[in-house]
Amino acid sequence: MTQSFLQIKGLTKNFGGLRAVNDVTFSMERNQVLGLIGPNGAGKTTLLRLITGILKPDAGHVCFMGKEIVGRKTWDIVNMGIACTFQNMRPFRRLPIIANVMVSCLSPRAMKRGEWVKRLEAKAMDALEFAGISDMAREKASTLSQGDLKRLEVARAVATEPELLLLDEPFGGLSPAETDLMAKSIRRLHKGGRFGRLHSEGPAMIIVEHKLQWLMKIVDRIIVLNFGNMIADGTPDEIVKDPRVIEAYLGKGDT
């Protein structure tokens, strides 16, 4: 059977009179890293929320590894292997950073997959190490700076050991040096392998990002949204040349 890894069909979401996501259809494969770009308010975050089940679509289907996931509970979807981050970071503020990640490690999916790993804490630590904030593991999450919070978000998502990782602006607020590191880590994660006790089969990814210069380095394919509609779908090189994308999103001069 040639079932795609993730298949989205006619996904639509309205907010009052506003159509945030309009009839979006695409599919992606297990080995892809997909970039999702578009102007502000194009519906990127909404699309990710629809996939993770936080929002319910008004119409359309999402099939993940052959199973319909629209209508399932968020935690079911996560346990099927889709993890996501929040654009506006939502850490557990009064918990130590390590506990933030341990929550993800406690999800049925991570528990099952890491059966041979006895120590949750060690696993959580590895996720933090991956995101580069392991030195602050015992601090309260409320003490983190904006950029570090972003990394915590990523660590939390990675700790569920997903098949598909949805990253919403993973580089937002990171300084250039750190963005570099983060981009490299993400790339490495996609390649698969082991990070300490954290096991990664190299998840497929959908990355929403406005920092194209780094995004281009890690994605194989880009989808462009505008006013909820998909206006382009192609390799990075094709996208930057697409006049509609340039007009709606890139503007002249910027890459």
């Binding site: 770009i37 300084s175 040096a177 890139l250």
Partner: protein
């Protein structure tokens, strides 16, 4: 100097976030603060605008997290380190905070009006509103949307717009470009430059080093609560170590 910071130190429960820091911004400058994540840039701005002191006051009786603040901050020739945050704002030192923070359950228009809270002149408010709308047409399209439901970038626009609604002498903006699409980002930078050219002094935190260095008159590089370098964009870019370790270029 319009803003002068001398030997400022900030402790959050034994952790020293700002370490004996001194800096200054002259009238008419556009100064940029750069540095790695967690360097203390946002904390510095919060300390200058009185938010750290405010936080210290309201958490005074908690069991943990003593906040301590030392040093001198003066603005427009007067010391402001003992002045309450809202009074500082009245003197014309405006901060557009990190992480956008709109008044979530209020409409877009109300948010903008809150930004012009201190302005008395109705015409001027209308005028400013027009300018903000011109910069961010999205906001004009939906003045009545509850701001918590805006998209991330839209909220960022709202936060910048809100700061622009007032009449600052010194405008501090904390990472205005996060979450903005490239097209808009360029526009925002242009607008900031425009504001600066109107004679408003600007203090900017930004990660987008390559863009800001082109417009800033002076830059500070912050790391671990200390200023480790200072100079124009060109000067800084010449320093190889700085380029590699702090600016990531």
């Amino acid at each position: 100097m319009l803003l002068e910071v001398a030997n400022l130190s900030v402790w959050y429960d034994k952790a020293m976030l700002i370490n004996q820091l001194s800096m200054g911004v002259d009238t008419g400058e556009l100064v940029c603060l750069v540095g790695p994540n967690g360097a203390g840039k946002s904390t510095l701005l919060r300390a200058i605008t009185g938010l750290v002191a405010w936080e210290k006051e309201i958490t005074r009786r908690s069991t943990h997290g003593d906040i301590a603040l030392e040093g001198i901050v003066s603005f427009d020739g007067e010391r402001i380190d003992q002045v309450a945050a809202h009074e500082i704002v009245k003197r014309g030192l405006i901060l557009c905070p990190e992480r956008r923070r709109p008044f979530r359950e209020m409409t877009v228009l109300d948010n903008l009006m809150a930004g012009s809270y201190l302005l008395k002149d109705k015409d001027q408010i209308r005028d400013n509103l027009g300018k903000v709308y011109q910069l961010f047409p999205v906001l004009q399209d939906r003045p009545n949307q509850i701001s918590g439901t805006l998209s991330g970038g839209e909220q960022q626009m709202l936060a910048i717009g809100r700061a622009l609604m007032s009449k600052p002498k010194l405008l501090c903006i904390d990472e205005p470009s996060t979450g903005l699409a490239p097209l808009l980002r360029t526009e925002v930078f242009q607008k900031i430059r425009g504001i600066h050219e109107l004679g408003i002094t600007v203090l900017l935190i930004e990660q987008e080093v390559s863009t800001v260095f082109k417009m800033s008159s002076r830059n500070y590089v912050l790391s671990s609560g200390k200023i480790i370098a200072e100079g124009t964009g060109e000067q800084l870019l010449q320093n190889e170590i700085l380029r590699k370790t702090y600016l990531g270029l």
